[in-house]
Symmetry: C2
Subunit: 289 residues, 2 copies
């Protein structure tokens, strides 16, 4: 089964808990809406790619870590879209969860998805219980305080914020965790993978900034120009389109350099090259050419 199918299956199992008789059906629908159909699933694909580069993990373990990370990402999108943050009407080309199900269910669906991440991890770790504590540590660190996505998002509520710290926590932390968890699932030295994951997160952030600046809403599936509207930092506003494109290529090179020694390093390098090509908006590449 290919990586994409393994990810979807693993997410289905986790979200499927809400389909149990006795669970409020609209909460189950809201959770499903938040997770399916997904976006590019870039974080869980990263997790599985690092596991593959390390020779593979026991059945189900890397998939569970990948699902946990994607569920945390989906939870954060649901809460970030709330009226008190971005008040986004659309996400992935469909109504945001609070627009489709109301604010109360959006808050609760986000909460339940955070818990579902740990449920996924627990279930997946049944095949490798010795890996559970490290995987939990990695996932907790990426999600909560002091440096996870909740912390990153909270910098938007401070009078002063360091742009690089904000981006590392809000975006970088889940990417770094995806890479570390992929290695941890295999029982390989895991922390060595953090710089690779963090660099990919940074590349993704720059690519997202380029798309936010250059795409239209129909293409993007969510409102555009959000960073400008909310006065948020953005690589295109800082460096211009050509500068941001150069920065994306530069960071991608750093990511490839940062790959630790592992059995399948060459395949992983090739995969990163393809991913960066996919990330680069065509219009941006044309502008910068």
């Amino acid at each position: 089964m290919d990586a994409a199918s393994r990810i979807e299956r693993s997410l289905s199992v986790a979200v499927g808990l809400s389909q149990t008789r006795g669970c409020p059906p609209r909460l189950a629908q809201a959770m499903h809406h938040a997770v399916f159909p997904g976006g590019a699933r870039v974080r869980p694909r990263l997790c599985l790619a690092v596991a593959a580069a390390n020779g593979g993990a026991p059945a189900g373990v890397a998939e569970a870590a990948a699902a946990a990370i994607e569920l945390l990402h989906c939870a954060s999108l649901v809460h970030d879209d709330l009226p008190c943050f971005d008040d986004a009407a659309t996400r992935r080309g469909r109504p945001s969860v609070h627009r489709a199900f109301g604010e109360p269910l959006a808050v609760l669906a986000g909460d339940a998805l955070i818990v579902a991440a740990f449920q996924a991890l627990l279930q997946g770790a049944a095949a490798a219980p010795a890996q559970l504590p490290l995987l939990m540590e990695v996932v907790c660190g990426a999600a909560g305080v002091p440096f996870g996505i909740a912390a990153g998002q909270a910098w938007e509520c401070e009078e002063e914020a360091d742009l690089s710290v904000y981006e590392q926590q809000k975006t970088g932390s889940l990417f770094a965790a995806a890479a570390v968890a992929g290695a941890a699932a295999c029982g390989a030295p895991a922390e060595a993978w953090r710089p690779f994951g963090a660099a990919l997160g940074e590349a993704y952030q720059v690519a997202d900034d380029l798309r936010d600046a250059l795409s239209d809403a129909a293409e993007l599936g969510k409102p555009v120009g959000q960073d400008a509207a909310h006065g948020r930092p953005n690589a295109v506003r800082s460096f211009g389109v050509a500068g941001a494109v150069a920065r994306l290529r530069d960071i991608a090179g750093q990511a490839i350099e940062a790959i630790p020694p592992c059995p399948e390093a060459a395949s992983l390098r090739a995969l990163v090259g393809l991913e960066v090509k996919r990330l680069m908006p065509q219009r941006a590449a044309a502008v910068a050419a």
Copy 2:
């Protein structure tokens, strides 16, 4: 060290993660505000009481489980107080988190407290790693879907809800989990403790309904008459004050009956008797006498 001090210390360690340099300071303040000073800490005290009744757990394990459950409870209070739910201005005699810090930080503090629950569990389980999977299962089950507090709260968003299912999930699940986790921390048969915890949860719910109906806001530290205002089920509305008092005594008796065989059952029975006395609002006891 007595149970209360062990609980506060364990909560301090968990919330203290947010005091790390590099964590947004207002998020750290909001999390602290949500947890300290606490209420009666009835769930973590239940967890430690069950652990003690089972002869005690390895150092730190029961305290971590107790803290995890209290952190989930605090997180749910922060989110339940949000404008889209109860829009409560006060909690424990002080401004609710969203009134003190704004809605975005209330959402994020709740999220981070959910994660902190798992961080506490992970740290505490270092002394007994074999107990971690079961403790995680218990805590996840009490928090998320299909039957945890997020599910319970979500019944408020359904057209039709079974009152008993709603209360079991919204209130009972954390009490049941507190009892089960207390036994699990000791490596004792754990599921046998669920009916005891669930009965105490029900007793607590009835006591809360009595206080909601009989107290004034200053005494209660939060708005009164909330159930009537939100059209929510309430034992006093269903049975009257005298009926609710009789029901509380009845359920307390059931809880004591449900205590599984354990080394310190007699002490636990005495403790439950004291707790029910504490739970019974004086005015209610007088009305029913």
